[in-house]
Protein backbone atom coordinates (compact mmCIF):
# COMPACT_ATOMS: atom_id res chain seq x y z
CA UNK A 1 0.00 0.00 0.00
CA UNK A 2 1.23 3.46 -0.88
CA UNK A 3 2.68 5.45 2.06
CA UNK A 4 0.31 8.21 3.16
CA UNK A 5 2.78 11.03 2.49
CA UNK A 6 3.04 9.79 -1.11
CA UNK A 7 -0.76 9.76 -1.43
CA UNK A 8 -0.86 13.39 -0.26
CA UNK A 9 2.04 14.37 -2.52
CA UNK A 10 0.47 12.84 -5.64
CA UNK A 11 -2.86 14.52 -4.91
CA UNK A 12 -1.18 17.91 -4.37
CA UNK A 13 0.83 17.56 -7.58
CA UNK A 14 -2.29 16.57 -9.50
CA UNK A 15 -4.12 19.63 -8.19
CA UNK A 16 -1.16 21.95 -8.79
CA UNK A 17 -0.72 20.81 -12.38
CA UNK A 18 -4.43 21.45 -12.99
CA UNK A 19 -4.08 24.97 -11.59
CA UNK A 20 -3.55 27.51 -14.36
CA UNK A 21 -1.89 29.94 -11.95
CA UNK A 22 0.84 27.43 -10.98
CA UNK A 23 1.33 26.24 -14.55
CA UNK A 24 1.57 29.77 -15.96
CA UNK A 25 4.18 30.78 -13.39
CA UNK A 26 6.19 27.65 -14.12
CA UNK A 27 6.06 28.06 -17.89
CA UNK A 28 6.94 31.73 -17.65
CA UNK A 29 9.95 31.06 -15.42
CA UNK A 30 11.15 28.11 -17.49
CA UNK A 31 11.25 30.13 -20.69
CA UNK A 32 11.47 33.75 -19.57
CA UNK A 33 14.83 33.82 -17.82
CA UNK A 34 16.83 31.65 -20.24
CA UNK A 35 15.16 33.64 -23.02
CA UNK A 36 16.18 36.91 -21.40
CA UNK A 37 19.80 35.79 -20.95
CA UNK A 38 19.83 34.50 -24.52
CA UNK A 39 18.46 37.80 -25.78
CA UNK A 40 21.08 39.83 -23.88
CA UNK A 41 23.95 37.66 -25.09
CA UNK A 42 22.55 37.72 -28.62
CA UNK A 43 22.55 41.52 -28.47
CA UNK A 44 26.15 41.56 -27.27
CA UNK A 45 27.13 39.29 -30.14
CA UNK A 46 25.26 41.48 -32.60
CA UNK A 47 27.03 44.60 -31.33
CA UNK A 48 30.44 42.95 -31.31
CA UNK A 49 30.13 41.80 -34.90
CA UNK A 50 28.34 44.86 -36.26
CA UNK A 51 31.47 46.91 -37.18
CA UNK A 52 32.94 43.94 -38.96
CA UNK A 53 29.80 43.49 -40.99
CA UNK A 54 28.67 47.02 -41.70
CA UNK A 55 31.58 49.33 -40.86
CA UNK A 56 31.49 52.68 -39.05
CA UNK A 57 29.31 55.39 -40.54
CA UNK A 58 30.66 58.93 -40.19
CA UNK A 59 30.23 62.31 -41.81
CA UNK A 60 33.47 64.04 -42.80
CA UNK A 61 33.46 67.79 -43.33
CA UNK A 62 36.28 69.19 -45.43
CA UNK A 63 37.49 65.74 -46.55
CA UNK A 64 38.97 67.26 -49.70
CA UNK A 65 41.74 68.74 -47.54
CA UNK A 66 42.90 65.29 -46.41
CA UNK A 67 42.31 62.75 -49.22
CA UNK A 68 44.94 60.33 -47.85
CA UNK A 69 43.34 60.30 -44.41
CA UNK A 70 39.93 59.68 -45.98
CA UNK A 71 41.32 56.76 -48.02
CA UNK A 72 43.02 55.31 -44.93
CA UNK A 73 39.75 55.41 -43.01
CA UNK A 74 37.85 53.85 -45.94
CA UNK A 75 40.34 50.97 -45.97
CA UNK A 76 39.50 50.45 -42.30
CA UNK A 77 35.77 49.91 -43.07
CA UNK A 78 34.74 53.49 -42.28
CA UNK A 79 31.85 54.61 -44.49
CA UNK A 80 32.43 58.30 -45.11
CA UNK A 81 29.70 60.68 -46.19
CA UNK A 82 31.42 63.84 -47.35
CA UNK A 83 29.75 67.16 -46.59
CA UNK A 84 30.62 70.80 -46.89
CA UNK A 85 30.29 73.10 -43.91
CA UNK A 86 27.60 72.30 -41.34
CA UNK A 87 26.33 74.42 -38.46
CA UNK A 88 26.54 73.16 -34.86
CA UNK A 89 22.77 72.77 -34.82
CA UNK A 90 22.84 70.69 -38.00
CA UNK A 91 25.58 68.46 -36.60
CA UNK A 92 23.59 67.98 -33.38
CA UNK A 93 20.48 67.14 -35.38
CA UNK A 94 22.38 64.68 -37.57
CA UNK A 95 23.89 62.86 -34.58
CA UNK A 96 20.51 62.86 -32.89
CA UNK A 97 19.23 60.66 -35.70
CA UNK A 98 21.56 57.95 -34.32
CA UNK A 99 22.69 56.80 -37.75
CA UNK A 100 26.19 58.29 -37.67
CA UNK A 101 28.81 57.30 -35.10
CA UNK A 102 30.49 60.72 -35.33
CA UNK A 103 31.12 63.80 -37.41
CA UNK A 104 34.78 64.45 -38.25
CA UNK A 105 35.25 68.13 -39.06
CA UNK A 106 38.53 69.34 -40.56
CA UNK A 107 39.15 73.01 -39.83
CA UNK A 108 39.34 75.55 -42.67
CA UNK A 109 43.06 75.85 -42.16
CA UNK A 110 43.68 72.10 -41.90
CA UNK A 111 45.56 71.86 -45.21
CA UNK A 112 47.60 74.96 -44.52
CA UNK A 113 48.65 73.93 -41.02
CA UNK A 114 49.28 70.32 -42.13
CA UNK A 115 51.62 71.60 -44.84
CA UNK A 116 53.46 73.78 -42.31
CA UNK A 117 53.87 70.77 -39.96
CA UNK A 118 51.74 72.53 -37.35
CA UNK A 119 48.97 70.63 -35.48
CA UNK A 120 46.15 70.67 -38.01
CA UNK A 121 42.73 71.58 -36.45
CA UNK A 122 40.33 68.69 -36.44
CA UNK A 123 37.07 68.29 -34.48
CA UNK A 124 35.30 65.10 -33.58
CA UNK A 125 31.60 65.54 -32.80
CA UNK A 126 29.68 62.72 -31.19
CA UNK A 127 26.63 62.10 -29.03
CA UNK A 128 27.70 60.12 -25.94
CA UNK A 129 24.08 59.27 -25.21
CA UNK A 130 23.90 57.21 -28.40
CA UNK A 131 25.05 53.59 -28.29
CA UNK A 132 27.84 53.97 -30.82
CA UNK A 133 30.64 54.72 -28.40
CA UNK A 134 32.65 51.59 -29.20
CA UNK A 135 32.67 52.61 -32.86
CA UNK A 136 33.62 56.17 -31.92
CA UNK A 137 36.55 54.88 -29.82
CA UNK A 138 37.59 52.67 -32.70
CA UNK A 139 37.60 55.72 -34.98
CA UNK A 140 39.75 57.66 -32.50
CA UNK A 141 42.25 54.78 -32.43
CA UNK A 142 42.41 54.87 -36.24
CA UNK A 143 43.05 58.64 -36.21
CA UNK A 144 45.75 58.19 -33.54
CA UNK A 145 47.43 55.40 -35.54
CA UNK A 146 47.29 57.47 -38.74
CA UNK A 147 48.72 60.48 -36.87
CA UNK A 148 51.55 58.32 -35.47
CA UNK A 149 52.34 57.08 -38.96
CA UNK A 150 52.53 60.65 -40.30
CA UNK A 151 54.64 61.73 -37.32
CA UNK A 152 57.07 58.83 -37.85
CA UNK A 153 57.47 59.72 -41.53
CA UNK A 154 58.14 63.38 -40.66
CA UNK A 155 60.75 62.41 -38.06
CA UNK A 156 62.49 60.09 -40.48
CA UNK A 157 62.57 62.95 -43.02
CA UNK A 158 64.34 65.03 -40.37
CA UNK A 159 66.80 62.25 -39.66
CA UNK A 160 65.32 61.24 -36.32
CA UNK A 161 64.33 57.63 -35.67
CA UNK A 162 60.65 57.30 -34.68
CA UNK A 163 61.83 54.75 -32.08
CA UNK A 164 62.99 57.76 -30.01
CA UNK A 165 59.37 58.33 -29.10
CA UNK A 166 58.91 54.73 -27.86
CA UNK A 167 61.13 54.16 -24.80
CA UNK A 168 59.17 50.99 -23.99
CA UNK A 169 58.24 48.05 -26.13
CA UNK A 170 55.11 46.85 -24.32
CA UNK A 171 53.64 43.51 -25.25
CA UNK A 172 50.40 42.23 -23.71
CA UNK A 173 49.75 38.56 -22.88
CA UNK A 174 46.23 37.58 -21.67
CA UNK A 175 46.29 34.18 -20.01
CA UNK A 176 42.49 33.99 -19.80
CA UNK A 177 40.97 31.54 -22.22
CA UNK A 178 37.43 31.66 -23.49
CA UNK A 179 36.26 29.47 -20.60
CA UNK A 180 37.61 31.62 -17.79
CA UNK A 181 36.41 34.73 -19.58
CA UNK A 182 32.98 33.11 -19.57
CA UNK A 183 33.16 32.89 -15.80
CA UNK A 184 33.27 36.66 -15.37
CA UNK A 185 31.01 37.47 -18.29
CA UNK A 186 28.11 35.11 -17.63
CA UNK A 187 28.73 34.06 -14.01
CA UNK A 188 26.00 36.35 -12.73
CA UNK A 189 23.53 34.97 -15.26
CA UNK A 190 24.31 31.43 -14.12
CA UNK A 191 23.48 32.30 -10.53
CA UNK A 192 20.21 33.87 -11.54
CA UNK A 193 19.13 30.57 -13.12
CA UNK A 194 18.60 29.23 -9.59
CA UNK A 195 16.40 32.09 -8.39
CA UNK A 196 13.19 30.68 -9.96
CA UNK A 197 13.59 27.59 -7.72
CA UNK A 198 12.08 29.81 -5.03
CA UNK A 199 9.07 30.55 -7.22
CA UNK A 200 8.23 27.30 -9.07
CA UNK A 201 6.55 25.58 -6.10
CA UNK A 202 5.42 28.68 -4.21
CA UNK A 203 1.81 28.73 -5.46
CA UNK A 204 1.42 25.00 -4.73
CA UNK A 205 2.93 25.36 -1.23
CA UNK A 206 0.55 28.20 -0.43
CA UNK A 207 -2.49 26.56 -2.05
CA UNK A 208 -1.98 23.30 -0.16
CA UNK A 209 -1.69 25.00 3.23
CA UNK A 210 -3.15 28.51 3.53
CA UNK A 211 -5.40 27.76 0.55
CA UNK A 212 -6.79 24.68 2.35
CA UNK A 213 -7.46 26.79 5.43
CA UNK A 214 -9.17 29.46 3.36
CA UNK A 215 -11.35 26.87 1.60
CA UNK A 216 -12.03 25.23 4.97
CA UNK A 217 -10.86 21.79 3.91
CA UNK A 218 -7.97 21.39 6.34
CA UNK A 219 -10.02 20.26 9.34
CA UNK A 220 -11.31 17.28 7.36
CA UNK A 221 -7.77 16.35 6.46
CA UNK A 222 -6.29 16.59 9.94
CA UNK A 223 -9.18 14.51 11.31
CA UNK A 224 -8.11 11.55 9.19
CA UNK A 225 -6.06 8.64 10.56
CA UNK A 226 -2.83 10.16 9.31
CA UNK A 227 0.07 11.60 11.27
CA UNK A 228 0.77 15.32 10.94
CA UNK A 229 4.28 14.50 9.65
CA UNK A 230 2.81 12.49 6.74
CA UNK A 231 0.47 15.34 5.85
CA UNK A 232 3.24 17.95 6.02
CA UNK A 233 5.71 15.72 4.17
CA UNK A 234 3.25 15.19 1.31
CA UNK A 235 2.68 18.91 0.88
CA UNK A 236 6.39 19.70 1.26
CA UNK A 237 7.50 17.09 -1.27
CA UNK A 238 4.89 18.27 -3.79
CA UNK A 239 6.16 21.87 -3.58
CA UNK A 240 9.78 20.67 -3.78
CA UNK A 241 9.01 18.36 -6.72
CA UNK A 242 7.58 21.33 -8.63
CA UNK A 243 10.72 23.35 -7.81
CA UNK A 244 12.90 20.47 -9.06
CA UNK A 245 10.84 19.90 -12.23
CA UNK A 246 10.92 23.63 -12.97
CA UNK A 247 14.68 23.82 -12.44
CA UNK A 248 15.36 20.81 -14.69
CA UNK A 249 13.23 22.31 -17.47
CA UNK A 250 14.71 25.78 -17.03
CA UNK A 251 18.35 24.63 -17.06
CA UNK A 252 17.67 22.41 -20.08
CA UNK A 253 16.22 25.38 -21.98
CA UNK A 254 19.15 27.57 -20.85
CA UNK A 255 21.63 24.90 -21.93
CA UNK A 256 20.03 24.71 -25.37
CA UNK A 257 20.06 28.52 -25.73
CA UNK A 258 23.71 28.87 -24.68
CA UNK A 259 24.75 25.99 -26.96
CA UNK A 260 22.93 27.57 -29.89
CA UNK A 261 24.37 31.10 -29.55
CA UNK A 262 27.73 31.81 -31.29
CA UNK A 263 29.34 32.90 -27.99
CA UNK A 264 32.85 32.64 -29.53
CA UNK A 265 32.12 35.96 -31.22
CA UNK A 266 32.31 37.70 -27.85
CA UNK A 267 35.27 35.68 -26.65
CA UNK A 268 33.47 33.23 -24.38
CA UNK A 269 32.27 29.68 -24.76
CA UNK A 270 29.71 27.24 -23.35
CA UNK A 271 31.21 23.80 -23.08
CA UNK A 272 29.00 22.35 -20.33
CA UNK A 273 28.08 18.80 -21.29
CA UNK A 274 24.99 16.91 -20.22
CA UNK A 275 26.68 14.91 -17.39
CA UNK A 276 27.97 18.18 -15.89
CA UNK A 277 24.52 19.71 -16.20
CA UNK A 278 23.05 16.64 -14.48
CA UNK A 279 25.61 17.07 -11.68
CA UNK A 280 24.62 20.72 -11.23
CA UNK A 281 20.94 19.76 -11.10
CA UNK A 282 21.61 16.93 -8.64
CA UNK A 283 23.56 19.29 -6.37
CA UNK A 284 20.58 21.68 -6.44
CA UNK A 285 18.10 19.06 -5.17
CA UNK A 286 18.73 19.89 -1.47
CA UNK A 287 17.96 23.50 -2.37
CA UNK A 288 14.62 22.43 -3.89
CA UNK A 289 13.82 20.40 -0.77
CA UNK A 290 14.72 23.33 1.47
CA UNK A 291 12.69 25.90 -0.44
CA UNK A 292 9.57 23.67 -0.48
CA UNK A 293 9.88 22.97 3.25
CA UNK A 294 10.36 26.62 4.22
CA UNK A 295 7.48 27.75 2.03
CA UNK A 296 5.11 25.16 3.52
CA UNK A 297 6.26 25.98 7.07
CA UNK A 298 5.66 29.69 6.48
CA UNK A 299 2.46 29.51 4.42
CA UNK A 300 0.63 27.11 6.77
CA UNK A 301 0.45 29.86 9.40
CA UNK A 302 -1.56 32.14 7.17
CA UNK A 303 -5.32 31.99 6.95
CA UNK A 304 -5.64 33.13 3.36
CA UNK A 305 -3.80 32.68 0.08
CA UNK A 306 -3.05 36.41 -0.12
CA UNK A 307 -1.68 36.58 3.41
CA UNK A 308 0.56 33.61 2.68
CA UNK A 309 1.90 35.25 -0.46
CA UNK A 310 3.37 37.95 1.77
CA UNK A 311 4.84 35.66 4.45
CA UNK A 312 6.10 32.91 2.17
CA UNK A 313 7.38 35.60 -0.19
CA UNK A 314 9.99 36.42 2.47
CA UNK A 315 11.40 32.92 2.07
CA UNK A 316 11.63 33.58 -1.63
CA UNK A 317 13.49 36.83 -1.16
CA UNK A 318 16.07 35.90 1.53
CA UNK A 319 18.08 33.25 -0.43
CA UNK A 320 18.24 35.62 -3.40
CA UNK A 321 20.08 38.31 -1.40
CA UNK A 322 23.53 36.62 -1.29
CA UNK A 323 23.30 35.90 -5.02
CA UNK A 324 22.77 39.61 -5.66
CA UNK A 325 25.29 40.96 -3.13
CA UNK A 326 28.27 38.58 -3.16
CA UNK A 327 29.09 38.86 -6.90
CA UNK A 328 29.06 42.65 -6.49
CA UNK A 329 31.81 42.33 -3.84
CA UNK A 330 34.06 40.68 -6.47
CA UNK A 331 35.45 38.16 -3.98
CA UNK A 332 37.53 35.20 -5.01
CA UNK A 333 35.75 31.89 -4.64
CA UNK A 334 35.99 30.67 -1.06
CA UNK A 335 34.69 27.54 0.61
CA UNK A 336 32.09 29.38 2.72
CA UNK A 337 30.30 30.35 -0.47
CA UNK A 338 29.45 26.67 -0.97
CA UNK A 339 27.72 26.62 2.41
CA UNK A 340 25.23 29.39 1.60
CA UNK A 341 22.09 28.03 -0.10
CA UNK A 342 21.59 29.25 -3.67
CA UNK A 343 24.94 31.09 -3.64
CA UNK A 344 26.52 27.64 -3.41
CA UNK A 345 24.70 26.51 -6.54
CA UNK A 346 25.70 29.64 -8.39
CA UNK A 347 29.37 29.26 -7.38
CA UNK A 348 29.34 25.57 -8.24
CA UNK A 349 27.74 26.14 -11.64
CA UNK A 350 30.29 28.84 -12.45
CA UNK A 351 33.17 26.58 -11.44
CA UNK A 352 31.91 23.61 -13.45
CA UNK A 353 31.02 25.78 -16.45
CA UNK A 354 34.61 27.01 -16.56
CA UNK A 355 36.02 23.52 -16.55
CA UNK A 356 37.17 23.41 -12.91
CA UNK A 357 37.16 20.13 -11.05
CA UNK A 358 35.58 20.32 -7.61
CA UNK A 359 36.43 18.05 -4.72
CA UNK A 360 33.89 16.50 -2.38
CA UNK A 361 33.86 19.43 0.07
CA UNK A 362 31.84 21.89 -2.06
CA UNK A 363 29.17 19.23 -2.65
CA UNK A 364 29.00 18.33 1.04
CA UNK A 365 28.77 22.00 2.00
CA UNK A 366 26.15 22.71 -0.66
CA UNK A 367 23.95 19.91 0.72
CA UNK A 368 24.55 20.36 4.46
CA UNK A 369 22.77 23.61 5.33
CA UNK A 370 19.79 23.15 2.98
CA UNK A 371 19.17 19.66 4.38
CA UNK A 372 19.49 20.89 7.96
CA UNK A 373 17.07 23.74 7.30
CA UNK A 374 14.72 21.30 5.55
CA UNK A 375 14.66 19.02 8.59
CA UNK A 376 14.06 21.98 10.89
CA UNK A 377 11.25 23.41 8.73
CA UNK A 378 9.48 20.06 8.27
CA UNK A 379 9.84 19.28 11.99
CA UNK A 380 8.40 22.68 12.90
CA UNK A 381 5.54 22.37 10.40
CA UNK A 382 4.59 18.87 11.62
CA UNK A 383 4.71 19.98 15.25
CA UNK A 384 2.59 23.02 14.48
CA UNK A 385 0.09 21.05 12.39
CA UNK A 386 -0.47 18.69 15.32
CA UNK A 387 -0.81 21.42 17.94
CA UNK A 388 -4.14 22.36 19.49
CA UNK A 389 -3.55 26.03 18.78
CA UNK A 390 -3.36 25.25 15.09
CA UNK A 391 -6.44 23.00 15.19
CA UNK A 392 -8.42 25.83 16.79
CA UNK A 393 -7.37 28.16 13.97
CA UNK A 394 -8.51 25.99 11.06
Amino acid sequence: MMPQFLVVMIKELKEALRDKRTLNIMLMMVFMYPGLVGFMLHNQIQKATKTERTGIDIVMIGAAQAPNLANYLRQKSVNITEKDAMSEADIGKLLGEKKMAAVLKLGDKFGEYYGELRPAPMELWFDSAVEKQAQRRELETMLRDYGNGVASARMLAHGVSPATLSPFALQRFDTADSLTRSNTRIGFFLGMFFVPVCIFGLAAAIDSTAGERERRSLEVLISQPMRAIDLVAGKWLAASALAAIGLICELSVAHAVLKYLPLEEIGISWRVDLPTLALVIAAAMPLCLMVGALQVAMAMNSRTFKEAQATAGIVTFIPILPVMIVPALELNTQNWMYAVPLLSNQTMFQALATGQTLGALPYVLACALPLLLTAAAVGFAAHRMGSEKYVLGV
Binding site: S217, L218, E219, V220
Partner: protein, 244 residues
Protein backbone atom coordinates in the same frame (compact mmCIF):
# COMPACT_ATOMS: atom_id res chain seq x y z
CA UNK B 1 -19.60 2.23 20.94
CA UNK B 2 -18.78 5.72 22.17
CA UNK B 3 -18.37 6.40 25.83
CA UNK B 4 -17.76 9.88 27.24
CA UNK B 5 -17.42 10.49 30.96
CA UNK B 6 -17.09 13.82 32.73
CA UNK B 7 -14.97 15.40 29.99
CA UNK B 8 -13.54 18.85 30.71
CA UNK B 9 -11.71 21.09 28.28
CA UNK B 10 -10.76 24.72 28.80
CA UNK B 11 -9.17 27.29 26.54
CA UNK B 12 -7.38 29.60 28.93
CA UNK B 13 -10.01 30.59 31.49
CA UNK B 14 -12.91 29.66 29.23
CA UNK B 15 -14.43 26.24 30.00
CA UNK B 16 -15.57 24.92 26.58
CA UNK B 17 -16.51 21.55 28.08
CA UNK B 18 -17.32 21.46 31.77
CA UNK B 19 -18.48 17.93 32.44
CA UNK B 20 -19.93 16.13 29.43
CA UNK B 21 -21.00 12.52 29.93
CA UNK B 22 -22.96 10.14 27.70
CA UNK B 23 -22.82 6.77 26.00
CA UNK B 24 -23.85 5.73 22.52
CA UNK B 25 -24.22 2.00 22.11
CA UNK B 26 -23.64 0.11 18.86
CA UNK B 27 -26.63 0.29 16.55
CA UNK B 28 -28.01 3.42 18.23
CA UNK B 29 -28.44 6.89 16.76
CA UNK B 30 -28.12 9.73 19.22
CA UNK B 31 -28.99 13.35 18.61
CA UNK B 32 -26.64 15.94 20.05
CA UNK B 33 -28.64 19.08 20.78
CA UNK B 34 -27.29 22.32 22.05
CA UNK B 35 -27.38 26.02 21.30
CA UNK B 36 -24.57 27.66 19.35
CA UNK B 37 -21.41 27.81 21.47
CA UNK B 38 -22.56 24.94 23.69
CA UNK B 39 -19.37 22.99 22.96
CA UNK B 40 -20.50 20.61 20.18
CA UNK B 41 -17.54 21.31 17.87
CA UNK B 42 -15.07 21.06 20.77
CA UNK B 43 -16.67 17.76 21.77
CA UNK B 44 -16.42 16.35 18.23
CA UNK B 45 -12.78 17.43 17.96
CA UNK B 46 -12.05 15.86 21.36
CA UNK B 47 -13.65 12.58 20.26
CA UNK B 48 -11.24 12.23 17.30
CA UNK B 49 -8.21 13.33 19.32
CA UNK B 50 -7.67 16.68 17.62
CA UNK B 51 -8.00 18.30 21.03
CA UNK B 52 -6.78 16.73 24.25
CA UNK B 53 -9.21 16.80 27.16
CA UNK B 54 -8.12 18.28 30.50
CA UNK B 55 -9.80 15.50 32.43
CA UNK B 56 -12.44 12.81 32.10
CA UNK B 57 -12.51 9.70 29.92
CA UNK B 58 -13.33 9.03 26.27
CA UNK B 59 -13.51 5.68 24.58
CA UNK B 60 -14.23 4.94 20.90
CA UNK B 61 -14.70 1.18 20.59
CA UNK B 62 -12.40 0.82 23.58
CA UNK B 63 -9.71 3.17 22.21
CA UNK B 64 -8.76 6.35 24.02
CA UNK B 65 -8.31 9.05 21.30
CA UNK B 66 -5.80 10.91 23.49
CA UNK B 67 -3.55 7.86 23.63
CA UNK B 68 -4.16 6.46 20.15
CA UNK B 69 -5.73 9.12 17.96
CA UNK B 70 -4.98 7.21 14.74
CA UNK B 71 -6.68 4.08 16.10
CA UNK B 72 -9.72 6.08 17.20
CA UNK B 73 -9.98 7.92 13.86
CA UNK B 74 -9.89 4.67 11.89
CA UNK B 75 -13.20 3.77 13.56
CA UNK B 76 -14.78 7.20 13.10
CA UNK B 77 -16.43 8.94 10.17
CA UNK B 78 -16.50 12.68 10.87
CA UNK B 79 -18.63 15.16 8.98
CA UNK B 80 -18.20 18.70 10.22
CA UNK B 81 -19.56 21.97 8.89
CA UNK B 82 -16.45 22.06 6.67
CA UNK B 83 -17.05 19.87 3.62
CA UNK B 84 -13.40 19.85 2.60
CA UNK B 85 -13.90 19.39 -1.15
CA UNK B 86 -11.18 20.04 -3.74
CA UNK B 87 -12.37 21.95 -6.76
CA UNK B 88 -9.74 20.56 -9.11
CA UNK B 89 -10.49 16.91 -8.26
CA UNK B 90 -13.44 14.91 -9.51
CA UNK B 91 -15.77 13.30 -6.99
CA UNK B 92 -14.20 9.92 -7.75
CA UNK B 93 -10.66 11.26 -7.31
CA UNK B 94 -11.70 12.93 -4.06
CA UNK B 95 -13.11 9.68 -2.69
CA UNK B 96 -10.08 7.70 -3.89
CA UNK B 97 -7.82 10.18 -2.07
CA UNK B 98 -9.57 9.72 1.27
CA UNK B 99 -9.82 5.97 0.70
CA UNK B 100 -6.05 5.79 0.27
CA UNK B 101 -5.50 7.95 3.34
CA UNK B 102 -7.65 5.47 5.26
CA UNK B 103 -5.38 2.69 3.96
CA UNK B 104 -7.98 0.99 1.79
CA UNK B 105 -6.73 -0.98 -1.19
CA UNK B 106 -7.75 -0.07 -4.72
CA UNK B 107 -10.32 -2.82 -5.13
CA UNK B 108 -11.98 -1.94 -1.81
CA UNK B 109 -12.04 1.75 -2.75
CA UNK B 110 -13.69 1.05 -6.11
CA UNK B 111 -16.23 -1.25 -4.50
CA UNK B 112 -17.11 1.27 -1.80
CA UNK B 113 -17.33 4.12 -4.31
CA UNK B 114 -19.95 2.12 -6.17
CA UNK B 115 -21.84 1.45 -2.94
CA UNK B 116 -21.86 5.04 -1.65
CA UNK B 117 -22.67 6.32 -5.15
CA UNK B 118 -25.79 4.19 -5.12
CA UNK B 119 -26.58 5.00 -1.51
CA UNK B 120 -26.33 8.79 -1.91
CA UNK B 121 -27.08 9.19 -5.61
CA UNK B 122 -23.69 10.55 -6.71
CA UNK B 123 -23.88 9.01 -10.18
CA UNK B 124 -24.55 12.26 -12.04
CA UNK B 125 -21.49 14.03 -10.73
CA UNK B 126 -19.09 11.19 -9.91
CA UNK B 127 -16.74 12.07 -12.77
CA UNK B 128 -17.21 15.84 -12.53
CA UNK B 129 -14.77 18.29 -10.90
CA UNK B 130 -16.15 19.52 -7.59
CA UNK B 131 -15.99 23.14 -8.71
CA UNK B 132 -19.43 24.70 -8.95
CA UNK B 133 -21.24 21.95 -7.02
CA UNK B 134 -24.50 22.93 -5.33
CA UNK B 135 -24.75 22.81 -1.54
CA UNK B 136 -26.64 19.53 -1.78
CA UNK B 137 -24.03 17.97 -4.07
CA UNK B 138 -21.23 19.14 -1.80
CA UNK B 139 -22.74 17.63 1.30
CA UNK B 140 -23.45 14.37 -0.50
CA UNK B 141 -19.82 14.08 -1.56
CA UNK B 142 -18.65 14.93 1.95
CA UNK B 143 -21.01 12.29 3.35
CA UNK B 144 -19.74 9.75 0.85
CA UNK B 145 -16.21 10.48 2.06
CA UNK B 146 -17.35 10.05 5.68
CA UNK B 147 -18.91 6.66 4.97
CA UNK B 148 -16.30 5.39 2.51
CA UNK B 149 -14.08 3.47 4.94
CA UNK B 150 -17.06 1.84 6.70
CA UNK B 151 -16.51 3.49 10.08
CA UNK B 152 -18.20 1.87 13.07
CA UNK B 153 -18.93 5.28 14.58
CA UNK B 154 -20.33 8.31 12.79
CA UNK B 155 -20.06 11.86 14.06
CA UNK B 156 -22.26 14.01 11.83
CA UNK B 157 -22.67 17.74 12.24
CA UNK B 158 -25.90 18.85 10.58
CA UNK B 159 -25.74 16.38 7.71
CA UNK B 160 -29.03 17.43 6.11
CA UNK B 161 -28.35 21.15 5.80
CA UNK B 162 -28.83 22.27 2.22
CA UNK B 163 -30.35 18.96 1.10
CA UNK B 164 -33.65 18.86 -0.75
CA UNK B 165 -36.47 16.69 0.53
CA UNK B 166 -35.58 13.73 -1.70
CA UNK B 167 -31.94 13.80 -0.67
CA UNK B 168 -32.87 14.20 2.99
CA UNK B 169 -35.05 11.11 2.77
CA UNK B 170 -32.31 9.20 1.00
CA UNK B 171 -29.86 10.18 3.73
CA UNK B 172 -32.29 9.11 6.44
CA UNK B 173 -32.66 5.72 4.77
CA UNK B 174 -28.87 5.42 4.54
CA UNK B 175 -28.37 6.27 8.20
CA UNK B 176 -31.12 3.89 9.26
CA UNK B 177 -29.38 1.12 7.31
CA UNK B 178 -26.03 1.95 8.90
CA UNK B 179 -27.62 1.91 12.34
CA UNK B 180 -29.13 -1.48 11.62
CA UNK B 181 -25.67 -2.69 10.61
CA UNK B 182 -24.47 -1.79 14.10
CA UNK B 183 -22.97 1.68 13.65
CA UNK B 184 -23.13 4.17 16.50
CA UNK B 185 -24.27 7.53 15.21
CA UNK B 186 -24.01 10.93 16.85
CA UNK B 187 -26.02 13.51 14.99
CA UNK B 188 -25.59 17.16 15.89
CA UNK B 189 -28.63 18.94 14.56
CA UNK B 190 -31.07 21.77 15.09
CA UNK B 191 -33.89 20.06 13.17
CA UNK B 192 -36.25 18.42 15.65
CA UNK B 193 -38.01 16.47 12.91
CA UNK B 194 -34.74 14.68 12.20
CA UNK B 195 -34.38 13.82 15.88
CA UNK B 196 -37.81 12.26 16.13
CA UNK B 197 -37.51 10.45 12.78
CA UNK B 198 -34.02 9.09 13.12
CA UNK B 199 -32.66 9.12 16.65
CA UNK B 200 -33.12 6.67 19.49
CA UNK B 201 -31.65 8.97 22.11
CA UNK B 202 -31.05 12.66 22.68
CA UNK B 203 -28.20 14.36 24.53
CA UNK B 204 -28.67 18.01 25.37
CA UNK B 205 -25.58 20.03 26.18
CA UNK B 206 -25.44 23.64 27.26
CA UNK B 207 -22.51 25.68 28.54
CA UNK B 208 -20.22 22.68 28.00
CA UNK B 209 -22.27 20.39 30.26
CA UNK B 210 -24.67 17.52 29.63
CA UNK B 211 -28.00 18.77 30.90
CA UNK B 212 -30.12 15.82 29.82
CA UNK B 213 -29.89 12.42 28.13
CA UNK B 214 -32.59 9.94 27.21
CA UNK B 215 -35.11 9.07 24.54
CA UNK B 216 -37.14 11.95 23.08
CA UNK B 217 -40.11 10.68 25.07
CA UNK B 218 -38.11 10.60 28.30
CA UNK B 219 -37.02 14.21 27.74
CA UNK B 220 -40.58 15.31 27.22
CA UNK B 221 -41.64 13.42 30.37
CA UNK B 222 -38.71 14.88 32.34
CA UNK B 223 -39.72 18.44 31.48
CA UNK B 224 -43.44 17.84 31.46
CA UNK B 225 -43.64 19.36 27.97
CA UNK B 226 -45.15 17.38 25.11
CA UNK B 227 -43.30 19.12 22.28
CA UNK B 228 -39.60 18.14 21.94
CA UNK B 229 -38.51 21.57 20.72
CA UNK B 230 -40.15 23.26 23.67
CA UNK B 231 -38.66 20.65 26.00
CA UNK B 232 -35.21 21.37 24.54
CA UNK B 233 -35.62 25.14 25.03
CA UNK B 234 -36.75 24.51 28.57
CA UNK B 235 -33.69 22.33 29.27
CA UNK B 236 -31.26 24.79 27.74
CA UNK B 237 -32.94 27.63 29.55
CA UNK B 238 -32.81 30.08 26.63
CA UNK B 239 -34.50 30.85 23.33
CA UNK B 240 -31.10 30.64 21.64
CA UNK B 241 -31.52 26.96 20.91
CA UNK B 242 -34.23 27.53 18.36
CA UNK B 243 -32.79 30.80 17.07
CA UNK B 244 -30.00 28.78 15.43
Amino acid sequence: MIHVEDVHKSFGDFPALAGVSFSVADGRATALLGPNGAGKTTLMRTLVGLLKRDRGAVSIDGIDPDKDPMGARRNVGLLTDQFGLYERLTTREYLEYFGQINRMDKAAINRRIEEVTELLGLGEFLERHCKGFSQGQRIKVALARTLLHRPRNLLLDEPTRGLDVMSTRALRRALTKLREEGCSIILATHVMQEVTNLCDDVIVIANGRTVAQGTPLQLCEQTGIANLEDAFVHLVGTEEGIAA
